[in-house]
């Protein structure tokens, strides 16, 4: 009997591609023989835009790369600029930054687990995830006046200090989350159908995973004990006690469990940050072009020369974003605008591994493996 291969275009508009991504699948019945990824449907030319904005003006655009977790984007860019210009940051500002980063990590993993389970057909987890995410977004709203696109972390500090009553609210959230994560585990982790769908699916050796450029929690599910927060400590992470969560199974379930562990670890970090939060000033220094919001208005003339220009040079700076290694490569020519900005986005590089990972699996497994890689299309296409 003669059989033919079936070409299926999964996407650009498909319920489980998390946006506009297209898989060109060559199928043998239900088995994937070849997977080619077509992207770029959300390409907005952020890197080109960066060449046309000043250093300050580009910060809000970084929010829109990975819109699920915008604080790490802010921070990665700002860290690169600070390294380039050698700016000192007040300690309190660094603590607030770490607070936002870890809170955003929890938010990101909630969305990731929720959408993963939604792709597998369990519609409930995403609602629970969004319920807790809503509380976190309210905290972000309190902190910086926006719920998803923050523009909060600026070169030299943060936009504003924490408002009154933020820490009690945060403590409430942390205490609540402890119980909620147990709930998620009860609902999801032990579920036999879930394990049947995730275990031994999307297996890739650690060697391959590194070679394919996987980073972050996805890589740590492959038994690579690596975390940029530990290996190249930045901000105040050296002062905090935490561990890089790691699993050795190399399959989708391990990648999922790393996320659950990381949420617990982030809560642990948040507790320490709240305890160790120093007093002092957190706003960006006025000389970097941004005046603090509060304070009496002063004469106009003193504001004009405050356009921030870093010295000429190149820097590649990276952080451990919730999705993996997020890096900004900035070339400065000493003018007010960057000469070139290159964004090394974690989603883009993690996605490289998918075609190899899903060869010989079925469409449902592709969805499971793709969900655990955790990509955001705004980050892939930039």
């Amino acid at each position: 009997m003669k059989t033919d291969e079936l070409l299926i275009n999964m996407g650009p508009v498909h319920p489980s591609t998390h946006g506009v991504l297209r898989f060109k699948l060559t199928m043998d019945g239900e088995i994937i023989r070849n997977c080619e990824i077509v992207m770029g449907y959300l390409h907005r030319g952020t890197e080109k835009l960066g060449e046309m904005k000043t250093y300050m003006q580009f910060v809000p655009y970084t929010d829109r790369l990975d819109y699920i977790s915008a604080f790490p984007n802010n921070y990665a860019y700002v860290k690169a600029v600070e390294e380039l210009a050698g700016i000192e940051v007040p300690l309190r500002a660094e603590y607030i930054r770490v607070l936002t980063l870890e809170l955003n990590r929890i938010v990101n993993h909630l969305v990731m687990i929720g959408s993963l389970l939604l792709d597998l057909g369990a519609s409930t987890m995403i609602m629970y995830g969004f319920r807790e995410r809503e509380n976190a977004l309210a905290l972000f709203d309190m902190l910086c006046g926006a719920r998803m696109t923050f523009n909060y972390i600026k070169p030299g500090g943060v936009r504003e200090d924490m408002p009154e009553g933020f820490i009690p609210k945060l403590n409430e959230f942390i205490n609540d989350m402890d119980m909620r994560i147990d709930d998620y585990e009860q609902l999801v982790s032990g579920n036999e159908i879930f394990m049947g769908r995730m275990k031994n699916i999307g297996v890739m050796s650690a060697q391959d995973a590194i070679n394919y450029g996987m980073t972050g929690p996805s890589l740590r599910g492959h038994g690579v004990n690596y975390d940029i927060r530990k290996m190249e400590p930045y901000s105040v992470y050296p002062d905090l006690d935490f561990k890089a969560c790691m699993r050795r199974e190399c399959d989708s379930f391990a990648r999922y469990m790393v996320r659950i562990d990381e949420m617990r670890e982030s809560l642990h970090i948040l507790k320490q940050v709240v305890d160790q939060m120093p007093q002092g000033k957190a706003e960006t220094h006025a000389k970097y072009g941004i005046a603090p919001m509060t304070g009496a208005p002063t004469a106009v003339s003193t504001y004009f020369p405050r356009i921030f220009t870093p010295p000429p040079g190149e820097v590649y700076s990276r952080i451990e974003a919730p999705k993996g290694e997020l890096g900004f490569y900035i070339v400065s020519d000493g003018t007010i605008k960057p000469y070139r900005i290159k964004i090394r986005s974690p989603s883009f590089c993690n996605l490289t591994a998918i075609p190899k990972m899903v060869e010989g699996l079925m469409i449902p497994d592709l969805i499971a493996a793709f969900g655990t890689i955790d990509v955001v299309l705004g980050d892939v296409d930039r």
Binding site: T124, G145, A146, N151, N191, K199, I290, A291, M293, Y303
Partner: protein, 138 residues
């Protein structure tokens, strides 16, 4: 095959069923959290970055906000014999840079987030809709 023969008791599924039943019966701090939007509104924080507002007395029309806007949203226009910013909400990122750079602290952002409208022209908020008069407290 292995997945079912190892876990034939289906304890995990039963645990999950118990958890969802707890939610159905609202046991132990698992309340309904929906905010029914048009009837109920969420409270936004005092720092919320919504529609702009410009202090009529403080604004000097210097144009720093115009220069600093990343998306060329703001234009300085003449109104009542003075110069004031005009904001095109359709292009606005709500990043708050204009508020940050205002030397006179005249620019504010309010908690108004219901900005949908029928035409593109009505998204351009001229000074007549942005200005507010701050009472002089003395």
């Amino acid at each position: 095959m292995t997945w079912i023969s190892k876990n034939w008791t289906m304890v995990g599924i039963i645990k999950g069923l118990i958890l969802t039943m707890k939610h159905i019966l609202r046991i132990g701090n698992r309340p309904t959290v929906t905010v029914q939007y048009p009837y109920q509104k969420m409270k936004v924080s005092p720092r919320y970055r919504g529609l702009h507002a410009v202090d009529e007395n403080a604004c000097i029309g210097c144009g720093i906000c115009e220069v600093n806007c990343p998306n060329a949203t703001i234009q300085i226009v003449k109104y009542k014999a003075k110069w004031y910013p005009q904001v095109n909400i359709g292009m606005c990122l709500f990043c708050g840079l204009c508020v940050d750079v205002c030397p006179m602290n005249a620019m504010k952002m309010t908690g108004n987030y219901e900005l949908a409208d029928y035409t593109r022209e009505s998204l351009v908020y001229g000074p007549d809709r942005l200005l507010f008069n701050k009472e002089v407290k003395q």
